[in-house]
């Protein structure tokens, strides 16, 4: 069976280049699975978990804001921030989530910008926890 070729790049460096059988992306309109021979696709992506399986082994990445391009079995993922699930410090992530929730609760209604920022933070910590969870 044809294989997908996955590349993850951030502004600083190329994080990963590998073959994969199946990839799930946290698309902005919902989760999105990609198998070989997918149509050419360009999508923007929110915060979430990207996972791919290769020979039955699943690897997960926490992923925050970026784009994915699917073109002839070549998937290129551009992200501002990527963390491998294994490398995530769960305690810190939980702590960050708790803090963000706390601050959101006491936030004034008219501080829209700050609210957006906090919500983004919360989302980030959630996807971190999600990515780190199963492997532990």
């Amino acid at each position: 069976m044809a294989k997908l070729h996955l590349e993850i790049v951030t502004p600083e460096r190329k994080v990963l280049e590998t073959d994969a059988d199946y990839i799930t992306l946290p698309g902005e309109l919902g989760e999105l699975g990609v198998l070989p021979s997918h149509l050419p696709l360009l999508t923007s992506i929110g915060s979430g978990v990207l996972s791919f399986s290769k020979g039955g082994v699943k690897t997960r990445y926490a992923w925050h804001y970026g784009f994915a391009e699917v073109h002839r079995d070549q998937i290129t993922v551009l992200a501002k921030l990527v963390e491998q699930g294994k490398a995530i410090d769960m305690d810190r992530a939980r702590e960050a989530k708790r803090r963000a929730e706390e601050e959101l609760r006491v936030l004034d209604r008219n501080e829209e910008q700050r609210q957006a920022k906090l919500e983004a933070k919360l989302l980030r910590s959630l996807s971190r926890i999600e990515a780190g969870r199963i492997l532990q």
């Binding site: 590349e7 790049v9 502004p11 190329k14 696709l41 923007s44 784009f67 501002k80």
Partner: protein, 288 residues
């Protein structure tokens, strides 16, 4: 004429300077290597982004997105990236002069110029001139500078969408190779979509866009512009270290030449002193 002791002291001081320049050269060499690696690692992201933007923006009208729209009249901003530290040859001076020429030219045309100074050397230069500086980032670590730049770019993009200014340029040094750096003054806003090579064009197909073209453009264009500034900064870092390395290499060589000419002088003076002493002794002995 300088006495023997004077010359000896002089030689010693030049030698210690030479040791410093030699050490600086080696430090810069390793920093340059690292900066160069960072550029290389950042390249895949920048290339891919440019390719996507090129594909997307093709056939897009000027009013297709606020960042592509030309504002006509208004301020011109120049984001000037220089180094914080000196001792790197004419790197900053050349760039400052080039930017100043552009600024003068544009002022003559009746445009208002504003400088955003990243790095101390550019700030110091334009502080003395009659050009307004709106923001300054200086004397920070490299990683903090990158963060501050990110923040500034975000604001600049928002301001542009609001129509606060008409044009944005980025001025920086481009790392061609170790011995040559090139000053680049590049227009960033209004955004001119990058032209793709013909080969890429032939492969291009209809992409499925999710959620939609406008939404994707809204996200990817700011990202693209921020990334341009980020790569410019990385480029400038590499230039800084390369230029310093070359400058320090030259300084070390000059110090070496100076030491050898001073040593020659020292030996001559020593020989002269011995000769005088001998003549004195001989003439003293003869007179007895």
């Amino acid at each position: 004429m300088a006495t023997l002791k004077d010359i000896k002291l002089r030689i010693r001081s030049v030698k210690s300077t030479q040791q410093i320049t030699k050490a600086m050269k080696m430090v810069s060499a390793s920093k340059m290597k690292r900066a160069e690696d960072r550029i290389k690692q950042a390249r895949p992201y920048a290339d891919k982004l440019r390719q996507i933007v090129g594909n997307l923006a093709e056939g897009l009208e000027q009013d297709g997105h606020p960042l592509l729209a030309k504002h006509g009249e208004g301020k011109t901003l120049i984001l000037l990236i220089t180094t914080d530290r000196g001792l790197c040859g004419g790197l900053n001076a050349n760039l400052n002069k080039a930017v100043n020429r552009l600024a003068e030219h544009r002022t003559k045309l009746g445009e208002e110029i504003e400088i955003i100074a990243i790095g101390k050397k550019g700030h110091e230069f334009f502080k003395k001139l009659d050009i307004s500086i709106s923001k300054v980032v200086r004397d920070q670590r490299e990683s903090d500078t990158a963060k501050a730049l990110d923040e500034i770019m975000r604001e600049l993009i928002q301001d542009y969408e609001k129509g606060a200014y008409a044009k944005l340029f980025i001025a920086y040094n481009h790392f061609k190779n170790v011995i040559s750096q090139e000053q680049i003054i590049q227009q960033v806003l209004p955004l001119e979509p990058p032209q793709e090579e013909t080969k890429e064009k032939a492969e291009q197909m209809e992409f499925l866009l999710e959620p939609g073209k406008t939404e994707i453009l809204n996200k990817i264009l700011p990202q693209y512009i921020e990334n341009q500034a980020f790569t410019a900064l990385l480029d400038n870092f590499a230039c800084e270290h390369a230029a310093r390395m070359t400058a320090m290499d030259g300084a070390t060589k000059n110090a070496g030449e100076m030491i050898s000419s001073l040593t020659l002088q020292y030996n001559r003076a020593r020989q002269a002193a011995i000769t005088t002493e001998l003549t004195e002794i001989i003439s003293g002995a003869q007179s007895v």
